[in-house]
Symmetry: C2
Subunit: 349 residues, 2 copies
DNA sequence: GTGAAAGCGCTAACAA
DNA sequence: TTGTTAGCGCTTTCAC
């Protein structure tokens, strides 16, 4: 069923039907009713391509997710973020175009998207410390919102981010307050801003407490189980191995847990562990039942907000860049018990 | 830059330019060269909407991922699957339209997608044991491939699936051969076919070995960390708690690990654990270094194959339904040591 | 309040 | 080998 057929059925012109359906005021209430009724009855849906062609709008938003390595699992946070954004799009009649780009042809990806007229704007994922995309997108004039920030950019742009620095600084401080002095950092690739920020937060808290930052208990690599496992395994072989672990991403945490368990240590007892995957999860023996959300609810929310932001910008391109910094949820506090000095236990291997 | 401008620049008709670019044979080589050269130079990309409108094809594939609950994290396997499919699409000039549908309005989602002409076909994710979508899609005539199977459907349809039944039967048998008798099954929602199949595989192997199937060490719930944690915690309180765990999804495994560790048991030593997330991972003390890929490489591959399948069907709708059953990768074998009877160790709580 | 007609950017008969 | 023309399904000016 297309507009022409619907119009013939109603014995009206396409124009009137179109107007009735799109809420133009000049249509009489009676015909509007009639048109809407008939449209519903015949399950009429305007053809996206035609509408897009006629209006010059694509009614679609592109999400570009870069894949940096063949080993790495697509980060689950993308899924959550997109689930959030998707809600907003379908409410506003937009579609979501997903592109998985390997880092080489990523520039082309954005160019193509714009030139083909496939999208009205894009959400940029996984920004890097040095990221050329801000300049690129500005150049091609495609509206965008970055999920994350680009610290090196002098250009203004819209972004939404989780306060990774603060989350890691708080988490580190918490561990320090609990008596830990050897705190391992199992981080993502530090060329990516989220990992860079987390490292800063960690370092900040360590410095503030006058603790030594020891590169031998810090790793930066892909977010894989293997990374977590090998890193932790090696660290637990050290004379003075870490008594606490700060882990980026729960995929990595799976490996960390495995190595801890294998070494005969108990997670949350011999070793405290905090996992940060935009939400924070804390494992410690003083918790009657350690907190773990793993709902990624912050990320989903970030997706919603980013989508709204982008649609606003598309509506009114003259808008000044917007941004939003979300705090990570860390629901411990009350459940953390008395501070006591951590002692290392013999590691069985 | 659009076709008209490009044609004017070249002092040719739009037709010729279009033909030259689309590889029609009747264009002379010299003009074709000239056209391609100019197009490249001006970064010309045909407008998708216009092309779609003119050809009646959307040049887009829809992926619909259902979300059954607010708690559940979007299953990471979707990400992998889509990453695989995406490769194929971009190679063939297709776009990927992602829709996240909550189970209620899912029927509408497919209807809309078809009526709007937004996609040429869809990939259906997360099929249920009783799934109305096969009939629905057949009715609206939208080409589709199911990622999974619908056991109750009498209609023929195209699908690609991982042999979940076999994977779980093998995994269970392996654990039995190692001397385990109390094997827990931490499963997904059994209304979903993947979980249903896994349960069948498990039961099959248990029955074959003459072992009792005990519902108190089997759970079926959402794929969350909390599910794994609580299920395992409760089971470890049992008099004769399980000595082995078979876990659907590594998100859940994270919780299983946590509970094991908390109980003072060692994973892969006191307790064997197999995680199945389309690839299998086995943790057992006889492995010098327990296998874990967590690359989801099977799923990514499945995505590639599903996409190819769907594009073939779209090319030639008269094609008979195709299907493909992939075996899960379980790379243990050599590393599994001698079979010995498992003994339960005292659980500290 | 309603309709005729042009046009969005492309493809594809049909002509030349 | 190239060009003319109509048309894909919709929106939107302009006229009535």
């Amino acid at each position: 069923m297309n507009l022409k057929e619907l119009a013939e059925l109603l014995e009206l012109s396409q124009t009137t039907v179109s107007r009735a359906l799109n809420g133009y005021p000049e249509v009489s209430e009676s015909t509007r009713e009639r048109v809407q009724q008939m449209a519903r009855q015949h399950k009429y849906r305007p053809n996206t391509r035609a509408t897009g062609l006629a209006t010059g709008k694509a009614m679609a938003i592109g999400h570009v997710i870069p894949v940096y390595s063949k080993n790495e699992v697509v980060n689950p946070v993308f899924g959550e973020f997109i689930a959030g954004a998707s809600q907003v799009y379908s409410a506003k009649g937009y579609e979501l175009l997903l592109t998985v780009a390997d880092s080489e042809n990523e520039q082309d990806t954005y160019r193509n998207l714009a030139a083909k007229g496939a999208v009205d704007g894009v959400i940029v994922h996984a920004p890097q410390v040095e990221d050329a995309r801000v300049a690129l997108l500005r150049e091609i004039g495609l509206p965008f919102v970055i999920h994350g920030r680009v610290p090196t950019s002098e250009l203004d742009y819209s972004w939404i981010d989780i306060n990774n620095r603060r989350a890691f600084s708080q988490a580190t401080k918490l561990l320090i307050d609990l008596g830990h002095e050897r705190i391992a950092l199992i981080n993502g690739l530090e060329m990516l801003t989220f990992a860079d920020s987390r490292k800063r937060g960690y370092s900040e808290a360590m410095n503030a407490a006058g603790l030594k930052i020891d590169p031998t208990i810090m790793t930066s690599d892909e977010l894989t189980e293997g990374h977590g496992y090998h890193a932790t395994r090696n660290m637990l072989k050290l004379e003075n191995y870490p008594t606490a672990f700060l882990v980026s991403s729960y995929i990595v945490a799976l490996g960390v847990q495995r190595a801890i368990s294998q070494a005969g240590l108990r997670m949350g007892d011999d070793v405290s562990v905090i996992i940060h995957d935009d939400d924070l999860s804390f494992f410690h023996n003083n918790d009657p039942e350690p907190q773990f959300t793993a709902t990624h609810s912050s990320v989903r929310e970030a997706g919603v907000m980013a989508a709204q932001m982008l649609l606003n910008i598309i509506d009114d391109p003259s808008l000044a860049p917007m941004n939003q910094l979300l705090e990570a949820r860390l629901t411990i506090g009350a459940s953390t018990g008395p501070v006591k000095k951590k002692r290392q236990r013999h590691v069985t291997r």
